[in-house]
């Protein structure tokens, strides 16, 4: 104890160690404080960073605020279509429960013609088929034709009655289908050898006809019929007594001027050809000479053809083609333009080795629609033929046509033009007495199988061909067996009927001449023919009506021509009959629909260029297979120069007036007695049927937005959405809203007005946003009336299932949908809306508990219309973004 007390006393008295301890302790305390301070602060900041890292915030959507969907509260109103099953409750939610509607045929189908076909000899004048679509005074015009009677014809010929010096003629009366009695023309002064005839192409002088004869004395005689008497010009020209062994002349009318051109051989080797023009009112002009620079033989065969005047862009109205063959078997051609001859640019003989100079192995004709001339001839090489074409600008080179079955060189050829197309048919009787034909389709030749290898003769032309007036078909007639005449029908391009051999006379038939009726009159003779019989020299007649070949008689024309050496007759149809009645007839056709027509109304609005035209309108009855003559499908009236609208409603068996392919046709016939043609002016043709083939669905309903929660003042637009499944392929569907101010459904202000063409038989969502004019569609009570309607494009009858149909308001505020996935509460302090032109920050103050999702509404934020990026910023310094690009 004393020791211890002693140590304490020493300790109390010691003064050296105290300060050291104190300093050490103070230093230690200082270090502890410094380190503690730093550690604590660091811990605190690390805690901040840890909290920041633990924050997991996502911005799932940023959009204008929407009200809840307003759905149907009552059954849909049906303006068109029907409800098949379900109720409106099936449309309230997208849950598979649906209401089913069906589009139904609606209203009337209206159809206008798509084609107008002139009937008979009616001709098209102007206008187009589309002019018939409305009653607007824009017409389609057609020109009437003389429909008085069937077409007359005449024949001039050599006959021994009185004397073979006096040509004879007979007239064919088409209505009676008879050749009239023989008339005698003035004496030619010498026995007639060759005869050529022509009818005036002008309707005003349709009676006028010309006969040219070439006689034994080598002289040509001309006869003109002026409607009352024959005026003869005796010995009008001479071909000499050498060339007169051949048909060395021809006569043809200029189509437009009505002048006649006589071209003939002068029987000389210079100035070989002469020509004369006959002009109405002044008679024959003086002889004009044509010195042929490239040929030098006496011209033996002359052939003329009148241009149809259809060639575009050229002055071909009065063009006549001349083709000749001379004694040197040279062939060459010219064209006459109404005043001068042109050589078509050919400066050399076309062919110096034609087949034969003693027989007519050349021919010329015009294609009737292009107006292209075809010159064709036989060459000296067996089976070889050549042709040239002239289109008004250029003459083609010699082009070969090989007829391999020809037995020898061609002796006799004819070339006939289809009256309504560019088709030509070429016939040739060769030196081996073979009969062949070839068909020209406007661009190339096609050779047919040989028809006969032993025709009656090859010294004359015992064969000819003629087209029917309607074109496309024709008749080939030839002699091959004594006592028979042989024929075949032809349908272009290469169909020949079976060979028929009716009895005619008792001998061979060395000359056959066929002519096509120039007019297309119902029931008229289509083709007339004259046939010269050998041995007895009878000139008989034949007739073709399209079905029946008739041998009118073996000597109907002449009982004795006394010769077969020459083609001593000429036959022609009249171009126009004396006009006492004109008819204009047009058939108009179109296509309707396939619906079950319960009613049909057909309408025509038309007028004529003359008063009092008896008019018959007929709608074809396909069940009866004819145009009705009374009752349904038939209307008659007397119509003049003022438009008259004719219509008829048919309520019984309307579908009888619809044919295969839903076609229909209307025929309008206007007929008037008189001497002046007239035009039919058709303004409007319409077929109106019920029902149409357009199926429509048009439904609407009211959709309400709670006006208390979502007052109009806070609305900036509306949205409409439908989820539906429809069956019509290609159908388009439209949503429209009812404009309460105008009382109509419209899509004005919709973001899409093109409608929706959904995938058929699949569920489709179609949504519309309306941000303009929306106020017109929402009542103060928050009612929006929406219409769903189809366009009627599809021919299918659509069935529509609606799973959801609703409307809602787009509010004038922005909703930020955020989700806090972190274990910490989050404090959102800022919002960003950025786009290409602006970056805008908005202060925010929103706390979001852990795991919580919420929509943060901001009335002061207006989203850009186009794309934008939205961000939210937390207090801890995290950000979450949403893109609406």
């Amino acid at each position: 104890m004393q020791v211890l007390t002693g140590h304490l006393r020493r300790f109390k008295r010691a003064k050296r160690g105290i300060s050291t301890v104190i300093v050490a302790m103070l230093s230690l305390v200082l270090v502890v404080i410094v380190v503690g301070n730093v550690v604590l602060w660091s811990y605190q900041m690390n805690q901040v960073d840890t909290d920041k890292m633990q924050e997991t915030l996502s911005l799932t959507n940023v959009a204008k605020t929407r009200s809840p969907w307003g759905t149907a509260q009552n059954e849909f109103s049906i303006s068109a279509g029907s409800i098949l099953s379900g109720t409106y409750t099936g449309t309230k939610a997208s849950d598979g429960t649906h209401e089913t509607f069906r589009a139904e045929p609606q209203g009337f189908g209206e159809f206008n013609p798509s084609n107008a076909l002139p009937v008979g000899s009616t001709s098209y004048v102007s206008g187009s088929i589309t002019d018939l679509s409305s009653n607007d005074g824009v017409y389609m015009n057609f020109r009437s034709y003389s429909s008085t009677s069937q077409t007359d014809a005449f024949i001039a010929y050599r006959d021994s009655t009185t004397s073979p010096n006096t040509p004879k003629e007979r007239t064919w009366t088409g209505t009676n289908t008879t050749w009239n009695s023989q008339s005698e023309l003035p004496n030619a002064g010498s026995p007639v050898r060759w005869v050529r005839v022509a009818y005036c192409p002008l309707e005003s002088r349709s009676y006028e006809k010309i006969v040219i004869t070439l006689s034994d004395d080598g002289y040509l005689d001309a006869y003109i019929w002026d409607g009352t008497t024959w005026t003869m010009t005796n010995d009008i020209a001479s071909s000499g007594i050498s060339a007169n062994a051949y048909k060395c002349f021809d006569v043809a009318y200029e189509k437009t001027s009505g002048r006649a051109l006589l071209v003939y051989s002068r029987g000389t080797t210079t100035n070989e050809i002469g020509y004369m023009i006959w002009t109405y009112g002044s008679g024959w002009g003086s002889e004009q000479l044509l010195d042929l620079p490239y040929t030098s033989g006496i011209v033996r065969w002359v052939s003329l053809a009148s241009c149809p005047g259809t060639r575009a862009g050229t002055g071909d109205d009065n063009e006549i083609a001349l083709f000749y063959l001379d004694a040197n078997v040279d062939v060459y051609g010219y064209t006459w333009d109404g005043s001068t001859w042109g050589n078509m640019g050919a400066t050399a003989v076309w062919d110096a080795t034609a087949a034969i100079a003693t027989e007519e192995c050349i021919a010329v004709a015009y294609a009737q629609t292009t107006g292209e001339a075809m010159f064709i001839w036989a060459d000296s090489v067996s089976t070889d033929f050549y042709y040239k074409t002239w289109n008004g600008a250029a003459l083609s080179a010699n082009t070969p046509l090989d007829i391999a079955t020809a037995g020898a060189v061609g002796n006799w050829v004819t070339l006939k033009a289809d009256p309504v197309s560019d088709d030509l048919l070429f016939t040739v009787v060769d030196g081996g007495s073979d009969l062949n034909t070839a068909y020209w389709d406007g661009s190339e030749w096609a050779v047919h199988a040989e028809h006969d290898a032993t025709v009656d003769t090859n010294a004359q032309r015992p064969a000819d061909f003629a087209w029917e007036p309607t074109g496309g078909k024709g008749l080939l007639v030839w002699g091959t067996t004594v006592g028979q005449i042989t024929y075949k029908t032809f349908t272009a391009p290469n169909t020949w009927g079976p060979q028929q051999n009716p009895t005619m006379g008792a001998n061979i038939h060395p000359w056959i001449q066929l002519r096509t009726n120039t007019r297309n009159i119902a029931g008229d003779t289509l083709i007339l023919g004259a046939v010269l019989e050998g041995t007895v020299f009878d000139l008989g007649a034949i007739r073709w009506d399209g079905t029946t070949f008739t041998v009118i008689g073996t000597n109907t024309i002449s009982a004795d021509t006394t010769v077969i050496t020459y083609e001593c007759f000429g036959l022609e149809f009249r171009n126009f009959n004396p006009p006492t009645q004109f008819t204009c007839e047009v058939e108009l056709s179109g296509t309707g629909n396939a619906q079950n027509w319960t009613q049909l109304e057909w309408t025509a609005d038309l007028a004529f260029t003359t008063p009092n035209v008896t008019t018959t309108l007929q709608l074809y009855n396909y069940t009866a297979n004819q145009y009705p003559t009374a009752g349904d499908g038939n209307m008659t009236d007397v119509i003049g120069q003022t438009d008259v609208t004719k219509n008829q409603t048919i309520t019984t068996n309307s579908t009888n007036f619809r044919g295969t392919g839903n076609n229909w046709k209307i025929k309008i016939n206007g007929t008037k007695t008189g001497t002046t043609p007239f035009d039919m002016k058709i303004d409007w043709i319409r077929l109106k049927v019920a029902p149409s083939d357009t199926c429509r669905l048009d439904i609407n309903n009211n959709f309400t937005i709670d006006p208390v929660t979502y007052p109009r003042s806070t609305i900036c637009g509306i949205e409409i959405q439908i989820r539906f499944n429809e069956t019509a392929n290609g159908e388009r569907w439209f949503l429209k809203a009812y404009n309460w101010a105008t009382g109509t459904f419209t899509d004005a202000g919709f973001n899409d007005t093109t409608g929706d063409t959904p995938t058929p038989n699949a569920w489709n969502d179609y949504a519309i946003s309306v941000t303009a004019n929306w106020a017109d569609y929402v009542t103060n009570d928050g009612v929006i009336r929406i219409e769903l309607v189809n366009e009627g494009l599809s021919t299918d009858q659509a069935t529509v299932e609606i799973d959801f149909f609703g409307a809602r308001a787009i509010m004038n505020s922005t909703s930020f949908d955020v989700k806090n996935s972190s274990p910490l509460s989050i404090h959102i302090v800022a919002l960003w809306i950025t786009n290409s032109t602006n970056h805008q920050r908005y202060d925010a103050d929103m706390f979001l508990n852990s795991g919580e999702s919420a929509s943060y509404l901001r009335a002061d934020i207006t989203l850009p219309e186009n794309g934008f990026i939205a961000k939210v910023i937390t207090e801890r310094g995290n950000a979450a973004a949403f893109s609406n690009d």
């Binding site: 103070l26 305390v29 301070n37 602060w41 950000a879």
Partner: protein
């Protein structure tokens, strides 16, 4: 009682230990105060450096002004001062001085233009040496 008071008044031996104790206490407290203050002063800069937190809320290549604008939010516990801005490692001028108090936010506007489609490495440096860096492609 009077005697006791007299003895206490007359007794001179105890005054020195008391005074020394008191003096020692005062010195110790003063030392601690000085040490604490010194510690705070010594660690202040470190704490401030550690306390800097800045968020670049948005980077906008302003097409009208042809500036690069960075919106900064001070999420730290100290005020900050932006000392330098580097774009693609090149110093750029900006709306200097740029100071942000705690929880404050403001656009930092970097001058010098930009080109569409180019990539820009933007490095913002505070006065305490903190870098706020990001790579952005100009629209």
């Amino acid at each position: 009682m009077k005697q006791l008071m007299r003895r206490f008044m007359r007794n001179k031996r105890a005054i020195t230990p008391v005074l020394s104790s008191l003096l020692l206490t005062v010195i110790a407290v003063a030392g601690m105060a000085i040490a604490t203050s010194a510690t705070y002063v010594i660690t202040s800069n470190l704490r401030e450096t550690m306390s800097e937190r800045v968020l670049a809320e948005d980077v906008w290549f302003n097409p009208a002004a042809r500036t690069i604008e960075v919106y900064l939010l001070n999420t730290g516990k100290v005020n900050i001062h932006i000392r330098s801005v580097y774009v693609n490692h090149t110093s750029r001028s900006f709306n200097n001085p740029f100071n942000l108090e705690i929880k404050a936010h403001e656009w930092l506007i970097i001058l010098g233009g930009w080109n569409s489609g180019d990539l820009y490495y933007i490095d913002i440096v505070t006065s305490r040496g903190m870098h706020i860096a990001s790579v952005n492609r100009a629209p």
